[in-house]
Amino acid sequence: MAELQVLLAGTDDHDLTKLDEYLAVGGYAGVGKARAMTPEELIDELQRATLRGRGGAGFPMGRKASLIDRSSPKPKYLVVNADESEPGAFKDREVMARVPHRLIEGCLISAHAIEAHEVFIFIRGEYLSEYEILQAAVDEARAAGLFGDVDILVHRGAGAYICGEETALLDALEGRRGQPRPRPPFPPVQGLYDAPTQINNVSTIATVPAIMEMGAEAFAKTGTESSPGSAIFSISGNIARPGNYELELGTPMRELIYDLAGGVPDGRELKAVIPGGSSVPALAPDEIDVPLDYDSLQKIGTFFGAASLIVVDDRCCIVQLALRSAKFYQHESCGKCTPCREGTRWMVQILERIEAGDAELSHIELLESIGSRILGRSLCALGDFAVYPTHSYITKWRNEFVAHIEQGGCPYGGASSLEGIVAPLDQHTHSPMAEVPA
């Protein structure tokens, strides 16, 4: 089990940003095949492929399409989530920069399934070069007459992690502050402009042409039984050969870290792997013998997430890691619900005190108790994302938290790889914050 090229197939010897080269490798053949089917037949085919969403939650894409309220008199919309802002993730960017036509082809096929005539691709504002490449490809494919009665509009975000959350994304697309919506109603019933809406990640949609090409049965036989296909894994941090690796799902994590990416450099020891982007529970070195697929990772208490591994070596103080990560979630909390808005601040304040050695042992329990009051009690999963990794750091590296408190400061004595790291949050001046309860 190893490399299975689906998303990046053909990129080694072709410039697939160009329409003629994409056509030369059989590109856009899937659109004709899909349009020869009825929407029902197509949804059926997609369901049999069991393509699970690559944006985080792993919900089957075909099943999502089947939930679209096609009886609604309103237009149906397809929205592609290209907000990619999860720390550690840079895979969708590679899809858009190298195979934009595969994403566009996936859009045209998926639009046919749900009878949508308008597709919106929401790309994070910072991805300027990727936007230009994608927009040029959209224009080229439209000019070539490939769109039929569908149009694709690329909409740029403006810098906010929360806009990756699908209902916040919809609000941003509607010209509002990007804040999550309460559910129900769910987007397949009432999404963009209150109309039935299918939302999928870039890599999910860009995999759809492969299902047309291979057929659902053949596709479902790749990867593992519950997680067919491939995924692009981003690997970064303290690793010899960082980058993107497209692998068959179920590939052992150890193979990616050591055989493909070259392991931890500079003769250092592996300390932790955060396997799905910074929002999931971290793994200790003795937990990395796990296949890279949704169910296997969940079985050991973490998540597939954004298929993005952050590798951490033994120079890193885990309290500093927890603190830097917590500052990100405080900064990105949209402020709409109390547990997340207040809780993420409290977590940062307590972690700052522990790092400074100005804390008592009871602060560790306080941190855990605040986390447990955010978990499952926030309007969207960002609150949970702030807690999952923090809880894993406390549970698996508790001795380091204790050492800070007992020694009255960081046991790394200024030598940690994250020493002094400045966060965007530190540049902001806040109105006086609620103090942590004593």
């Binding site: 509002r176 502050r177 830097r324």
Partner: protein, 153 residues
């Protein structure tokens, strides 16, 4: 009607609801003014039949809009985990000493605004620095003087 309003309305027509043009219109206004002064917010509001207060509420939500003046150039260093683990702080410090300002500040000649940002989606090519929105990857402290010189011209 102004050319700006015409341009914004042309964007708005592409969406089922013209309000969807708010983000693109704010970006356009910022490109013209360098930041979003009250006057720019009024122009966006007028073009889309919204209120300036609404436009400000939206703009203040997103990190890429500037509600205070910024320098001619923008230097943004990612200090999220993957970049931080391989030395982003040393890149930050190199910019600090080269520019003579702290993160979040603008040089006194008004040329460069320098700030740290959250993950830019280039984690495998750390440290990532966005210079006027174009990514420089694998940046080390040794590259910083050259980048600053380029900007100062």
């Amino acid at each position: 009607m102004s050319a700006f309003a015409d341009e914004v309305r042309a964007i708005a027509e592409r969406y089922p609801d013209p309000r969807s043009a708010t983000l693109p219109a704010l970006r356009l206004a910022q490109e013209r003014h360098g930041w979003l002064p009250p006057e720019a917010l009024r122009e966006v509001a007028n073009a889309l039949d919204l209120t300036p207060a609404y436009c400000k509420a939206v703009a203040s939500f997103y990190d890429m809009y500037h509600l205070a003046p910024v320098g001619k150039h923008l230097v943004e260093v990612c200090t999220n985990l993957s970049c931080a683990l391989v030395g982003a702080q040393r890149v930050v410090e190199a910019f600090e000493s080269e520019l003579g300002v702290a993160p979040g500040e603008t040089t006194t000649d008004g040329e460069v605004t320098f700030r740290t940002v959250e993950c830019l989606g280039g984690c495998g090519y750390a440290t990532v620095v966005a210079v006027d929105h174009r990514y420089r990857q694998d940046v080390t402290p040794a590259d910083v003087a050259g980048i600053v010189e380029e900007l100062r011209g």
